[in-house]
Assembly symmetry: C2
Homo-oligomer: 399 residues x 2
């Protein structure tokens, strides 16, 4: 007899979903495929020489700190540098308001762990970040997306009347993944007003904020109401994802709970990586290098948009982000991007089907395109191929 | 109005326990205190020059791999090196049987996440590893410890009759934390027989196995039944905890579920750290350095035991581990190590009270002592102080 694993899985495990992106990426590994599917920063954006210098210094100056256990709260010099920057931007917080996490994915996970019971409701965007949706499902939360035509207040009031007050509102106000859209100041204020009226936390996921390459700087929602907003940050898009450094800035009574949850999750984030992050900030390399990252991504986005304008058939629309790594493409209603995917793979180009980001199963005619990773040449060539695939599908349908 | 955090916590969060060690350590930070409380490897055991060489090589050879996202399953060269060693020791497994985790604490957490529903039973030792107990509580599992005088089969049969079949048996067969005790081959076989008879997984936590400094090598339980044993490994005690590298070796259908659970937990373990681990094994530095670690810890253990023999009052007993980092001290029944703790702090010496490791609240007369971290001189001086504190308590009681 052998153990039947499926029969002894937790209910949460049964509700977990594999990442659709992962499965798409496994199809898109052939070298001839131009992939807009991943969410990788461009390797040319990595400050290799700076990191070389930093790791050498760490190994000279304090190797036994780097190799030892650290505290669950995070490496103090890194926390101080992060706080210094937030405080300078008018965002309050001291050491007890901040915890370093092993990636901002862990930050989302820990917040769920602290707040979510099975069946709890979380308000999110339509579309919203897939990794957050995955975390919600893994705790059996029910993410509820607010449709464009809906009034979020009505949605929340209805839920409260049903005894299902949302645990928090999940938002990515700057250059949202996947849509690339940025919330205006009025929209931010409206959500904050709701949070205040109904006493609901807002989880502000902010991985791209520093990659604004055009348009006007927006204040974080956290800066507008630090009592009700929990801010998530990370180095993954602005410095390097290989160190898996994220953080949570929020109320002390929340951070305290997150610390206890993190203790049994992974005890502490790699000290070696945290020391690299700390030095990177101390030396102001962050500020120096982010300039190039923004230039590069602006150029790539413009190339992609320009190629859309040249090659995309009538009826296809797109967002035009002011920062970040992603934009959203929309075909006319009735077309399905899952169907398109197979045609696109035949043309050697890949993307992520948009429906994966919609917790209500809508968005079938949408797709997410990453513009940070591919080379300039491949961006243009990839858009050509994608446009060809869309054309083929449209021609087929109109027969 | 402000959000009342406590009122919206998840049931799991409400069941989480802060680490007792953490709280004890916060008392034991004064420099004059000799602490046997932590579980830190000795910094002199860190192969600083080797790591220096390795990080330099990584930054020369493949920096953009090190700084980029990796796969959830783990960095393939690291996995291959780990498997090579297990296979050479007769432990089966290929790439699909292994996942790299961000510390073995995460490994325990992910296994709980995959298998535990609230109220589920886990069988563990009395005492057992505190970090594992914390993870169990955080999923609202009920750890049930088998007493020395109990027959584990009777315990399991009773649970099954109650419809509460244990999800798994948690064991640390080599140099257990906290007791320092190693399971004999018959004991291992007896537990495996139970696992086979009742079709229950065994979670074999194996962080210290490579630090055997005396006695006879024991086969892992995994090698005796790879279908029913899930093995957890880590570099934290044998190389360096600062990289937070752990792993799980087990059945493919289990690893597959763990991969999905890890996706939403932290996406992947720091690639930079994994590359360091891979090179450390590729260059056989692990085998070279572990010799010194074992020598050092053997010397420190012997120093501590010798000091016990010299200074401890009649009635105090201790375990004499053949490896690892910890040993267990026992006072006669009726004495309480929590009470002793305050006296010990007055004498400037610290330890962990043993009851924290007993899920049934017993073990009040026990304490865990770490012998890996303190200098040789401090080990002797610390034992002297501890013996004095115990003597004072005994004198007080006998008045």
């Amino acid at each position: 007899m052998s153990i039947d694993v499926k029969s002894i899985l937790s209910d949460n495990a049964l509700n977990m979903r594999r990442s659709a992106i992962r499965d798409l990426l496994s199809v898109a590994v052939r070298p001839e495929i131009i992939s807009f599917a991943g969410g990788f920063p461009n390797p040319d954006s990595f400050p290799v020489d700076d990191v070389k210098e930093i790791v050498q210094e760490i190994m000279e100056e304090s190797p036994t700190v780097a190799l030892q256990y650290g505290t669950t709260e995070g490496y103090a010099p890194l926390k101080r540098e992060i706080l210094k920057r937030y405080n300078a931007e008018g965002m309050p917080g001291d050491m007890d308001n901040l915890i370093i996490t092993t990636s901002s994915q862990q930050a989302i996970d820990l917040i769920c762990r602290v707040f979510i019971n099975p069946g709890d409701v979380v308000i999110c965007g339509l579309p919203s970040y897939l990794g957050a949706l995955q975390a919600f499902y893994s705790y059996r939360a029910e993410p509820i997306g607010v449709k464009d035509e809906e009034d979020p207040e009505v949605v929340i009031e209805k839920l409260i009347a049903e005894g299902r007050k949302p645990k928090f509102i999940y938002a990515i106000p700057d250059f949202q993944n996947p849509s690339g859209v940025t919330m205006g100041i009025k929209e931010r204020q409206a959500i904050l007003d709701l949070a205040k009226k109904y006493d609901i936390f807002i989880l502000e996921d902010s991985p791209y904020k520093e990659i604004r390459f055009e348009g006007e700087h927006m204040p974080t929602m956290y800066s507008m109401d630090p009592e009700r907003v929990i801010l998530l940050g990370t180095f993954s898009k602005t410095f390097a994802p290989g160190f898996r450094l994220g953080w949570i800035l929020g109320r002390k009574d929340v951070i305290e709970r997150v610390v206890v949850a993190k203790q049994s999750s992974d005890l502490c984030t790699p000290v070696f990586c945290q020391m690299i992050g700390a030095k990177y900030l101390e030396k102001n390399y962050f500020e120096k290098n982010i300039v190039h990252v923004k230039e590069m991504y602006k150029r790539k986005k413009e190339l992609m948009i320009h190629a859309f304008e040249q090659f995309m058939p009538e009826g296809v629309t797109w967002t035009n982000p002011e920062g970040g790594l992603f934009l959203f493409l929309k075909m006319p209603e009735g077309y399905c991007s899952r169907e398109l995917f197979d045609l696109a793979i035949q043309e050697n180009v890949a993307f992520v089907t948009g429906d994966s980001f919609f917790c209500d199963g809508s968005g079938k005619n949408t797709m997410r395109l990453n513009f940070s990773f591919a080379s300039d040449e491949k961006i243009v060539e990839g858009v050509k191929r994608l446009a060809l695939a869309i054309r083929k599908m449209m021609d087929e349908k109109s027969k």
